[in-house]
């Protein structure tokens, strides 16, 4: 916002390298608000990053993602390591505003300097995370956080962007949603590295575990077969086992099998395309807004003199996007 003086980007980078939360927080804001200057900072932070373990936590609304995140924070802190948390909540599609309340579940760590929690609003982005998430992960990584946990918005079936950013993606499911596996079809089942059936004190927990295990049974040797674990995050049950599975997955990644490298390449391609697409969209929207015909043609469309197709054909030509 205009009220506060901005630090030069180089100064921000130097402070972030020293682990300064305030500067990191400010840079994340710049990334979130789409300041191009933030890219320069992120480029400079690139050599400092790469050592954090990035874990994504996704799943349907109400599955217990925030509570599980809180328990993982606790475990990482008990190991004596530092942690960054990115908690994504949805923006209102109507007003664009958002209520970000995930950090309430982690409020016991508010005064712990080893825990840095940042809430992000989805800002109209579909996919479970936000365009700023990648940059925010790098900031937390470069400032020296050992582990970065990313909690997505409550997702349905194909909001799987987190899998492109996280080393390990945990999908949190709960028993008793009817046909649980049906409720988490294609997308989300394909990207999970680890499945947690939370609230496992409920009836049908074992049934959900078996349903999930049956799906992964077909994975051939050499590939990663996602473990399916029961947990009761609220009661601190099963958390050590989840961490153990995250470590096993890390060992698997470090062996860098052909299958894993191929997956990484696909992720990278998808991510680069998505990133450029988003920036192109912003740039084109800006050019559209300065095109006089854009506003003018609205009246003509409303009054029925022309239609959207005719106007779009002409404008795409004017913007040099069609011959």
């Amino acid at each position: 916002m205009s009220r506060r003086p901005e630090l030069p980007v180089d100064e921000l980078v130097a402070r972030i390298a020293d682990g300064d939360v305030r500067s990191a927080s400010r840079l994340i804001r710049m990334i979130d608000d789409g300041h191009r200057a933030a890219w320069h900072a992120l480029e400079q932070l690139f050599p400092l990053s790469g050592s954090a373990l990035v874990v994504g936590i996704t799943g349907p609304p109400g599955a217990g993602k925030s509570t599980l995140t809180d328990r993982l924070v606790q475990l990482v802190r008990q190991q004596g390591r530092t942690v960054g948390v990115l908690a994504v909540d949805p923006s209102s599609p109507i007003s664009g505003g958002a209520i970000l309340g995930d950090r309430i579940r982690m409020n016991r760590f508010t005064l712990d300097e080893g825990v840095f929690v940042r809430s992000l609003a989805s800002r109209g982005h579909f996919g479970g995370i936000t365009p700023a998430t990648r940059g925010a992960i790098r900031v937390m990584d470069a400032m020296g956080r050992d582990v970065v946990l990313v909690e997505t918005v409550g997702v349905g079936q194909d909001e799987v962007d987190i899998a492109r950013l996280a080393h390990t993606t945990i999908v949190v499911a709960v028993p008793g949603l009817g046909d649980e596996v049906q409720a988490m079809k294609a997308g989300i089942l394909e990207v999970g590295d680890l499945f947690v059936v939370n609230k496992a004190d409920r009836p049908d927990a074992d049934k959900t575990v078996v349903q999930l295990e049956n799906i992964f049974r077909q994975i051939v040797d050499g590939g990663w077969r996602p473990p399916v674990l029961k947990a009761q995050a609220l009661h601190d049950v099963g958390i050590d086992e989840i961490w153990h599975a995250i470590e096993q997955h890390r060992d698997y990644r470090e062996q860098a099998s052909l299958a894993y490298r191929a997956k990484q390449r696909v992720n990278c391609l998808l991510e680069l395309r998505a990133f450029l697409q988003q920036e192109l969209q912003v740039e084109l929207a800006r050019r559209l807004d300065t095109e006089p015909e854009f506003e003018a043609s609205v009246e003509a469309i409303v009054s029925g003199d022309t239609d959207i197709y005719a106007v779009s054909t002409r404008m795409l030509h004017q913007l040099g996007l069609t011959p």
């Binding site: 916002m1 009220r3 939360v21 927080s25 804001r29 505003g97 958002a98 508010t110």
Partner: protein
């Protein structure tokens, strides 16, 4: 695109959360991002959260006397941390006299019962823009 980020919470042992929830929804509907911290905050937890979330303004909801004690502490702590973030105080129990005391102490704006939504929203926007409370 930039959006106003507001921290909304209740201080101390005050358990009256409904006002804070109402304000959070009101600000969300005006396109702002509200970092909602619920009840049982301390001045220390508010300041730590304000830093981590890079908020532009802090809204404190109060329905008990405790704000008289904690708000000055919060103002001091913000100053100690060199944070120039306006504080807006709201709540049914704030008398005119106490409101004046709070403003003198450095609170940017105070809203008692009967406050109008547009006034509160305009004030938040003005303060974030660096203008005096409208």
């Amino acid at each position: 695109m930039s959006r106003i980020r507001v921290l909304v919470g209740v201080l101390g042992m005050d358990q009256h959360e409904l006002g804070a929830v109402g304000i959070a929804k009101m600000l969300r509907d005006q396109g702002m991002e509200v970092i909602y911290t619920g009840c049982f905050n301390t001045p220390e937890s508010i300041v730590a959260t304000a830093i981590e979330e890079d908020v532009d303004i802090i809204g404190i909801s109060s329905h008990s006397w405790e704000y008289l004690y904690y708000t000055p502490e919060l103002l001091d702590l913000l100053a100690e941390n060199d944070l120039d973030i306006p504080i807006v105080l709201g709540g049914s129990v704030i008398t005119d006299e106490d409101a004046a005391t709070m403003r003198d102490r450095g609170v940017a704006a105070v809203f008692g019962s009967g406050s109008v939504v547009t006034d509160m929203v305009d004030t938040v926007r003005s303060l974030v823009a660096g203008e005096p409370a409208s």
